[in-house]
C-alpha cells in the first residue's frame, strides 16, 4: 500500500500558507486581502487533515470542521466590512482607511 510521506503533505500545506501570506502582503485590495485570509485558513485545515491522517485519528477532521466554521463566520463579517468600507471610502484600497496620522 503506497502512502504519502507526512513531510510532503505538510510541505504542501506550508506552500499554500506562504502563498496566502504573499497575497496578503502584495495585494492592495481588500477583496484580495480576504481571499488571502481564506487561502491561509484552508492551508491550516489541510495541515490538520495531514496530521489527522498520519495517526489515523478523527481529530484532524474535527479541527478542520471547526476551522470551516471559523472561516464562514470570519468571511461573513469581513464581506460586510468590505461593503461598508467601499460605501464609506469609495475605494477598495486598504490604504484609504489610514486616516490616523502619528
Amino acid at each position: 500500500m503506497a502512502t504519502v510521506p507526512m513531510a510532503h503533505g505538510l510541505l504542501f500545506a506550508g506552500l499554500l500558507f506562504v502563498l496566502g501570506v504573499l497575497g496578503l502582503l502584495v495585494r492592495r485590495n481588500v477583496v484580495f486581502v480576504l481571499l488571502s485570509l481564506e487561502i491561509m485558513l484552508n492551508a491550516a485545515g489541510l495541515a490538520f487533515i495531514v496530521a489527522g491522517a498520519r495517526w489515523g485519528q478523527a481529530d484532524g477532521q474535527v479541527m478542520f470542521i471547526l476551522i470551516l466554521a471559523a472561516a464562514a463566520a470570519e468571511l461573513a463579517v469581513g464581506l460586510a466590512l468590505v461593503l461598508r468600507f467601499r460605501r464609506h471610502f469609495k475605494s477598495l484600497d486598504p490604504g484609504a482607511a489610514s486616516t490616523m496620522r502619528g
Binding site: 500500500m1 503506497a2 502512502t3 504519502v4 510521506p5 507526512m6 510532503h8 503533505g9 504542501f12 506552500l15 499554500l16 502563498l19 496566502g20 504573499l22 497575497g23 502584495v26 495585494r27 477583496v31 484580495f32 480576504l34 481571499l35 488571502s36 481564506e38 487561502i39 484552508n42 485545515g45 489541510l46 487533515i49 495531514v50 491522517a53 498520519r54 495517526w55 489515523g56 485519528q57 478523527a58 481529530d59 484532524g60 477532521q61 474535527v62 478542520f64 470542521i65 471547526l66 470551516l68 466554521a69 471559523a70 472561516a71 464562514a72 463566520a73 470570519e74 468571511l75 461573513a76 463579517v77 464581506l79 460586510a80 466590512l81 468590505v82 461593503l83 461598508r84 467601499r86 477598495l92
Partner: protein, 164 residues
C-alpha cells in the same frame, strides 16, 4: 496512488498562485475555487472523505458563493442590456483545463478503489461524528456561538443606516 496526491497538490499550488496574481477579483475567485477543489481531492487521497465532501459543499458551495455575491455587487459597471453575446477573452480556459485534470485525477482514485493516506488508513465519517459529538461537544457549542456572532455582526455591519 501517490501520483494522485502530487497532481492535486501541484494543481492547488498553481491555482492559488494564479488566484493571488489575477487583476480581476472574479478571475481570482474562480482560480481559488479550483484550488479548493484540488485540496478536496487531496483530502480524499489522504483518507479523509468526509472533509473532502465538506470542502466542496461548504467551502466552494456556500462560502465562495457568498464571496461571489459580494464581488458582483462591487463590480462598478453592472449595467448590461440583456445577456452579453459571449464571454470576452479566454480567461475561463485555464481553470477549465485544471478542473478537467482534477476530474481525471479523481477518476483514477476511484478506479484504484481503496483509500490511501499518510498512515494507510481511512478515517470514516462515522468516526468523525463520534469524535465530534463525543469529546468535542464543547467545541461544537463554541462553533455555534461563533457562527451566531458572525451572523449578528454581518447583519449589523451590512444594514443601511436609515437616519443620517
Amino acid at each position: 496512488m501517490n501520483v494522485a496526491f502530487y497532481i492535486s497538490a501541484v494543481i492547488a499550488i498553481l491555482a492559488t498562485l494564479a488566484a493571488i496574481s489575477r487583476r480581476e477579483a472574479i478571475h481570482a475567485l474562480v482560480y481559488f475555487v479550483v484550488s479548493l477543489l484540488a485540496a478536496a481531492v487531496a483530502f480524499l487521497v489522504l483518507g479523509a472523505p468526509f472533509a473532502a465532501a465538506l470542502e466542496v459543499i461548504t467551502y466552494v458551495g456556500a462560502i465562495m458563493v457568498m464571496f461571489l455575491f459580494v464581488i458582483m455587487t462591487l463590480v462598478p459597471d453592472t449595467r448590461t442590456n440583456g445577456d452579453q453575446p459571449r464571454v470576452k477573452g479566454r480567461s475561463w480556459l485555464v481553470p477549465l483545463l485544471l478542473t478537467f485534470v482534477l476530474i481525471g485525477d479523481i477518476v483514477y482514485v476511484a478506479a484504484m478503489g481503496t483509500a490511501f493516506s499518510v498512515s494507510g488508513v481511512e478515517v470514516s465519517p462515522r468516526q468523525v461524528g463520534q469524535t465530534l459529538f463525543g469529546p468535542y461537544t464543547l467545541a461544537v457549542e463554541m462553533a455555534s456561538m461563533l457562527l451566531l456572532a458572525g451572523l449578528v455582526g454581518a447583519y449589523h455591519l451590512g444594514r443601511h443606516r436609515s437616519r443620517k
